[in-house]
């Protein structure tokens, strides 16, 4: 193993390959899009079949909270993009600060989401609660989808935040640097995906009137 004269292929899988790592991330993002794609398909079909009920149910959501959350996420996408540029220019310290800001925004998003969900619970709007079970079928479908899709999205926010936190640690350790910034770039790509999915969820649930 430790032989110094051992032959190593030029095209070794153990070489650092920024292009490969970016390609892998993009492929993974495709799978995420398809994961949510299945849900968007279900949404489309049920909305088509229950247009009036979906409209009625959507008035239960708080557009203001949704708007604030959209702004929070868009800002966080900007800060992570800036973090990548900062690292590419060699300013690791600024990159770390900007990444922390992104995580902060992620937490802010989750806090607002928490208040939104708990107000639904207070109104008895969750499967199994009396008020919910009394709703007409179409409105129940709307809330099934609302909880499932925003819940899954919130999980992705958490995963994205943890991913960025790990990268911050690696920048501090000097493993992610100006020359090897792929991992930060990938965490940014993932974060943009989380953002992008929200950009679709927001109008679908809050805005179509």
């Amino acid at each position: 193993m430790a032989d110094s004269h051992i032959f190593v292929l030029p095209n070794s899988g153990h070489n650092f390959d920024a292009k490969a790592s970016k390609m892998g991330m993009w492929l993974f993002l495709f799978t995420e899009l398809l994961l949510f794609g299945g849900l968007f398909l279900v949404y489309m079909i049920y909305r088509f079949l229950n247009q009036d009920a979906f409209l009625l149910a959507s008035f239960e959501l708080n557009v203001w909270m949704g708007t604030i959350n959209t702004i929070v996420l868009l800002t966080s996408s900007m800060t992570i993009a800036m973090a990548i540029t900062a690292l590419q220019k060699g300013n690791a310290k600024l990159a770390i600060t900007l990444s922390w800001l992104t995580i902060l925004a992620a937490l802010g998003f989750l806090v607002i989401k928490y208040f939104e969900w708990s107000s639904k619970f207070e109104h008895g709007l969750f499967p199994g609660m009396d008020h919910f079970d009394g709703l007409p079928l179409g409105e129940r479908l709307y809330f099934y989808l609302y909880f499932f899709m925003t819940g899954l999205h919130a999980l992705h926010v958490i995963v994205g935040g943890v991913f960025i936190a790990v990268v911050i640690r690696l920048i501090k350790k000097g493993k992610v640097t100006k020359e090897r910034y792929s991992l930060l770039e990938n965490s940014g790509l993932y974060w943009h995906l989380v953002d992008l999915i929200w950009i679709y969820l927001f109008p679908l649930f809050y805005l179509i009137h």
Partner: protein, 539 residues
């Protein structure tokens, strides 16, 4: 064997101990880890299959209750599909041989590769834990059709989560292979100089990547429905069960090609080697893999002709299904044309490849019967379907897996199995397989429904024949497994190129060293199967 160069330590010898295996980043060791785990689950599920055949020996209850029978066929299906046949060829032989055939030393993401195996094991533990914990294994069939899967008291949640985790593992393997093929080919090897096995894996990987997430989300919806009452599929609380079937088959039909395409890739390797002849229609075979992968996305509706579907939709799905037969037939004709005027050396791997063609032909043609609208209504949910997919999955993909095992065995272990015993095992498998499953096709045409532990007395004779066949089949499996283990432990040393193959894996020693090659591999001139230019290897 007289080797001119000093042998490097093989990848078996570089490190020892359990941890050097379960935390290895070496693609060859990960391939072997998969082989042992997949092999184990295959034997478990084959045991369940034998149990079902025994129950069906006579009408009425012989061995197990109706409910137990339902759980047995579900577990048989879940293990065979998600733990054996989907990962079988890509995870074992893809991992072991794709990097070597491309002339590199590992996959693009070695750590992710190890992570995929761990996910596989986690998924397997979830699937098997239903035997011990909770209210027993699921009794829904491997398709988990709603609304029954939402309402049954058995442990569907865990089984479904197992399938979700295994799907994730499958996605990551596919992702790894795509990037490996794009980034790590040896200098001078373009896409059209790749071995056809690599092409088949490339097409497969795209299906794994683009279809699996859909079933992932569908299975999560089942879990959410069972755990939180998010009723997207159960009509009594709002949902639509037909929608579940659509989402399920959007993945699960392309998944059929996850099982079949790598098997076809193996046949495309074995046939030119044992005919010592350039493959006929290299590009046609390569691109037909991509064509099957593409068209395969648009045929899922043929599983649902009787579930309620508009006439025009059914006709479109039926026509698309017939289209899949075209690229498949292209492959079969090319294989046969490759054999024509070749110097054929009939060895066990070739026998398996030929058996693949024979079985797959029956499986494919019965598939067309099922894809035809009028015929499908007649044989839907009968033993005809059971016979058809066992011909495709077991007689096709399974036999190709066994063929690959015999073809690459000397490369993986550096030893040769007993060829006479291997021939006997093959004969038992082939005869046993056809005796088990051909009667099912006839039973189905006569109207015997599937998924019951009981049947009418007029089906008795053919069921006896089928059960008798299953005993021959299992004898064949046992003989094969023992022979391979004996060969691995005590077999004669094999040369680095016992079959005189010219793809890159035959240029390195057997078993390969940790880094696969101790010098730059040389591409054969004029394409990966250009035999006339190949030097004769030392026998």
């Amino acid at each position: 064997m007289s080797e001119t160069v000093v042998q490097q330590p093989s990848f078996f010898q570089t490190k020892k101990g359990l941890f050097s295996w379960i935390f290895t980043l070496d693609h060859k060791r990960i391939g072997i880890l998969y082989l042992y785990s997949i092999g184990l689950f295959f034997l478990v599920a084959a045991g369940l299959g034998i149990l079902m055949r025994l129950e069906l020996l006579n009408p009425g209850r012989d061995l197990i209750e109706a409910q137990t029978y339902n759980q047995v066929f579900t577990l048989h299906g879940v293990i065979m599909i998600f733990l054996f046949i989907i990962p079988s060829v890509p995870a074992v032989f893809g991992n072991f041989f794709l990097p070597i055939m491309l002339g590199t030393d590992d996959v693009a993401f070695p750590r992710l590769n190890l992570f995929s195996w761990w996910l596989y094991i986690l998924g397997a533990l979830f699937a098997l834990s239903t035997l011990v914990f909770g209210d027993g294994p699921a009794d829904t069939g491997w398709t988990f059709y709603a609304p029954y899967s939402v309402k049954t008291g058995t442990n569907v949640t865990t089984s479904v989560l197992a399938a979700f985790i295994l799907g994730f593992s499958s996605i990551l393997t596919g992702l790894n292979f795509i990037v490996t093929i794009h980034r790590l080919r040896t200098p001078g090897m373009g896409f059209n100089q790749m071995p056809l096995f690599a092409w088949a894996l490339y097409a497969t990987s795209w299906i794994q990547l683009l279809a699996t997430p859909v079933i992932g989300i569908t299975l999560l919806m089942i879990v959410a429905e069972r755990v939180f009452g998010i009723g997207l599929f159960d009509p009594s609380i709002g949902g639509d069960p037909i929608l579940y079937q659509h989402l399920f088959w959007i993945y699960s039909h392309p998944a059929v090609y996850i099982m079949a395409l790598p098997a076809m890739g193996i046949v495309s390797e074995i046939i030119p080697t044992f005919a010592q002849r350039t493959i006929f229609g290299y590009k046609a075979i390569a691109y037909s893999s991509m064509a099957i992968a593409f068209v395969g996305y648009f045929v899922w509706g043929h599983h649902m002709f009787t579930s309620g579907m508009s006439g025009p939709a059914a006709i479109v799905f039926s026509i698309m299904t017939f289209f899949v037969a075209i690229p498949t037939a292209v492959k079969v004709f090319n294989w046969v044309a490759t054999l024509y005027k070749g110097s054929i050396d009939i060895q066990v791997p070739l026998l398996f490849a030929l058996a693949f063609i024979f079985n797959f032909l029956i499986g494919g043609l019965t598939g067309l019967v099922l894809g035809a609208l009028a015929a499908d209504v007649h044989v839907h949910d009968t033993y005809f379907v059971v016979g058809h997919f066992h011909y495709v999955m077991f007689g096709g993909a399974g036999f190709a897996f066994f063929g690959a095992l015999h073809y690459w065995f000397p490369k993986m272990w550096g030893r040769m199995y007993n060829k006479k015993v291997a021939n006997t095992a093959f004969a038992l498998l082939f005869i046993g397989f056809n005796t088990t499953y051909f009667p099912m096709l006839i039973l189905g045409l006569k109207g015997m429904p599937r998924r019951y532990y009981d049947y009418l007395p007029e089906f008795h004779d053919l069921n006896i024949l089928s059960t008798f066949g299953s005993w021959i089949l299992v004898t064949g499996i046992i003989v094969m497994v023992i022979n391979l283990f004996a060969g691995g432990l005590k077999g004669k040393n094999a040369s680095s190129n016992p079959w005189n193959g010219i793809t890159l894996e035959w240029q390195t020693q057997s078993p390969p060293p940790l880094h696969n090659f101790d010098k730059m591999p040389e591409l054969p001139e004029g394409g990966p199967y250009n035999y006339p230019n190949a030097k004769n290897a030392d026998h």
